[in-house]
Symmetry: C2
């Protein structure tokens, strides 16, 4: 075991004061606002759980406890802090009653359907405390959707007489949690289903969920690397680094990393969409910057590109949609059948990307947008544009990078260690109090962990309807970057300076020890949003 792993296993996460005495809590209910445009349809899908109230916690007399049996599952992409949710669940269940049992379902939600599970003991959990990865249980992307799957899940939780089932996951997994909760209630099953908000992408957030766990560590990990590269660029003074960063559609990660590192140019997908920016315009403006920097003797720089960018460029969207429909058509024939706009876009792409778009398809024949190497596409196009610039006397030596997998399974920052652990307590608490169909959250996160506020959010409250595979389905809306929000406006007011001056910041690797200001740093996103938010807590 590495030295850091041993040290981290010994770390005792800080928990919210309110959760210290987990059996002495009173739940206060508050009417949940109706946020969806489809209340009727959702009420039909969720007759039992749609109108559930918001839940807050306050201190009360000790409540008598009994041992609880709870199952937990890790769902979807890895996020730092997941093991701590499990550790928090385990410790809080034992606090409620030392005879409580925690089971872990293996390999994601399919573990529930296929009844693959292990009992989690202190011995098993200990080496995973405050560590990254989802390797304690594995993960998976299966959704429990078909009648057969739902029925198997029901039979399995019944067979194990589970009091609760905790699903740690993103928007889809929490939607799934709501469906299971409804199904269990309808079938008189006592198992309470609680969701926990997880995703490095930061897109599962709203007025009630301040941030999912994992975002903090992932952004810090990427920012450390971007900072290193920026410093290398400034030292060597000869490379342009085009860095693509994970984050699915939304540009939350790119925005946070920009605030942490001050690159010369950062694309924000949501802004491109709002200004209807074309690929040509993007490349043009990047080229302009490179020419202007060259005039100042600077033939180096750092460009950040969010993974989801391509989906936000209207003409690329059109092209991809048309190509998806023309899946087996190739060559001259393809060019003929594309619309004029799509053909123009297609022909603008370097050959290697044309090939990729026509060849690299998923099992349904769709283009795999996340496989498109946007960082290399931009770099190729910029190179081409620079050749046509008579006023450009510089030397363009680009290097491309993609950061993603590096930030999903790393040791959680102190923030995410505390946060994940606390979320485990909230989930136990909700089960102990007998609630189902809720997402367990912590609010007031910009304060110190002791001041964090536990709450229960009815998952259905966060839903709306979306077309998926031709059918209207209930989903939790992914939250995109708010172009009027403080994180974006702050970035927007500073980026002009960052473009030409080299004001790179070097956050360095995530620190777990040392001065509190260092090892408990918060993301800018959280801090800036909290500054402007009218506190939910008055």
């Amino acid at each position: 075991m590495s030295c850091l792993r041993e040290e981290r296993n010994r770390y005792q996460p800080r928990i919210p004061k309110k959760l210290e005495e987990i059996t002495s809590l009173r739940v206060e209910v508050e009417e949940a606002p109706i946020l969806t445009k489809h209340p009727r349809e959702l009420e039909e899908i969720f007759p039992k759980t749609f109108h559930q109230p918001l839940l807050k916690f306050s201190k009360a007399e000790e409540k008598s406890a009994r041992p609880l049996k709870v199952g937990v599952v890790l769902s979807g992409g890895q996020a730092p802090g997941g093991h701590n949710v499990i550790a928090g669940l385990f410790d809080s269940l034992k606090k409620i009653d030392s005879r409580s049992t925690l089971y872990g379902f293996l390999g994601g939600s399919s573990g529930i359907v296929e009844d693959r599970l292990v009992e989690l003991t202190e011995e098993k959990i200990r080496p995973y405390r405050n560590t990254g990865g989802f390797d304690l249980l594995g993960s998976g992307r299966t959704k429990i959707e078909t009648p057969e799957q739902l029925e198997s899940a029901l039979q399995n939780v019944k067979a194990h007489a589970l009091d609760g089932l905790v699903i740690i996951g993103g928007d889809d997994s929490n939607t799934n949690a709501a469906l299971l909760a409804e199904y269990f209630l309808t079938h008189n099953c006592e198992t309470k289903v609680i969701g926990v908000p997880k995703t490095i992408d930061g897109d599962l957030k709203n007025a009630f969920v301040e941030i999912p766990f994992g975002f903090d560590t992932a952004c810090k990990t990427y920012s450390a690397l971007i900072g290193n590269i920026a410093r290398d660029a400034l030292s060597a003074k000869k490379y342009y680094h085009f860095i693509k960063i994970m984050g699915r559609s939304a540009s939350h990660i790119a925005l946070e990393c920009a605030l942490q590192t001050h690159p010369n140019y950062t694309l924000i997908g949501e802004e491109v969409a709002s200004t209807k920016g074309s690929l040509e315009e993007i490349v043009q403006s990047l080229t302009d910057l490179i020419v202007e920097r060259a005039e100042r003797g600077k033939n180096y720089g750092v460009v950040l590109i969010p993974e989801g960018l391509i989906e936000f460029i209207p003409e690329m969207r059109t092209l991809i949609q048309e190509l998806n429909l023309l899946m087996s058509v190739k060559g001259e024939e393809l060019l003929k059948r594309l619309s004029e706009e799509a053909r123009k876009t297609f022909l603008m792409l370097p050959e290697i990307f044309q090939e990729q778009l026509t060849l690299d398809r998923d099992p349904h024949g769709n283009i795999q947008v996340s496989h498109i190497a946007t960082e290399q596409l931009l770099l190729h196009l910029v190179k081409r544009f620079l050749k046509n610039r008579a006023d450009y006397k510089g030397k363009f030596q680009p290097v491309s990078h993609f950061f993603g997998y590096e930030g999903r399974s790393c040791f959680p920052s102190n923030f995410d260690s505390n946060y994940g652990y606390g979320l485990g307590f909230v989930a136990s608490s909700l089960i102990f109090q007998g609630y189902t169909g809720y997402m367990g959250v912590l609010q007031n996160l910009a304060s110190s962990p002791e001041e964090w506020e536990p709450a229960g959010i009815p998952i259905t409250m966060l839903m709306h309807l979306e077309e998926r595979k031709g059918r209207q389905k209930p989903v939790i809306e992914k939250t995109l970057v708010d172009l009027k929000g403080k994180p974006f406006t702050t970035f927007s007011s500073l980026r002009g300076e960052w473009a030409l001056e080299d004001e790179y910041h070097y956050p360095g690797p995530v620190q777990f020890y040392g001065p509190p200001s260092l090892c408990n740093e918060k993301t800018f996103t959280l801090a800036l949003e909290q500054e402007t938010k009218v506190g939910i807590h008055g």
Copy 2:
């Protein structure tokens, strides 16, 4: 300024006890062994400096001091710890005499030739203490070789009346330091030239230089990322990660990272060369492993590939040599003119790599070996081989990565912070004592910094002759991985287990604070080599 940068600026590096009283040192000389096969030729090139003795330091009476004027230059690729050499130089020169002055030449050695320099004050140096990058002065790869360059350098150091010139660099830069020292002596110039061993690649080492600075931090930075990815692979259980790591020809970095993270498969260039492994054999053995892991239900893994691998595969070497000679020949004609062996190798390569080899040339028409995406080449070939394996039932989803720039300019570990700073003291000390043509080193590095032993190594002692551009030139030999050394034999005895079991280690990000065992960790390479080494100090 980032929080970590502010904190690091306050860190006070630990210095060797022997260097605490820098004006109270006695130099003990010891005959230098003749290691080169070309003593005659070297003696001719370096008549004044070839037979200089080894230098050790011990405590003595205080020596009277006078203010010194010293110039310093950062040369070649960035390595963490470079700014600390400068800080150490500055502080030690001020200790010798508070009126001493330090100048920094800008943009590498060309700064000496072109007389671009700044005076370095505490105010200028402070924000760079214990930080990464070479951005305080910039760097460059210019060598001072031509009579005109040598003469300009001479005139410039004379004009500034420099007592010393410190060149922080790798093998080439230290060779250059020796040439300058000789030239200055020959021309009755009093400026002493001292080299400092720098390179993340770890290939500037021998019986006298235990390790260059920068290697420690770079390896820890890459290992943190490799560990993160390994944990992600083990959690998601669906990807094979092919990770190429920087390090020029030698595989020191790959070996160290393997010892730190335990990947399933690590290629070591020197081993491939010694067994005359062919590309086909490499791909075959990788494919075998993937098939065997699939039989155990494991469709994921981590493969490490050193940047220099390609040069060690005999058939690839042949192909590259032939292609370099046939620079403008293409298509059918090219195939005709290649030797049978080279043609076979060429045709084995995926089309995209064939194109790259025929198109991507440096200004001299040579193939840019470092541009070859070996990680993707192997991944393509493995994919092809797997298709022909009837016994393979697994799913192969590869992801490729290249880590390099991330590790060159990051915050130096405590080890490299102390080491760089101490090297600055050694360099001052050598100048103060009036020596030239030396590399300043610290030995006994596996002990605590207080016990490190300063020494002076005549640079010419490390040289031999090599053909460069058709002429015999004095160079410091790059040290390759010793296949009989403890680091490699340790790796070799463990890799069988790592291949099939998942014994990944997760070192996590470099820590600067917290338990000493954590924030002062040493590389395995250093620790293992010291275990077996008969101490130079008895």
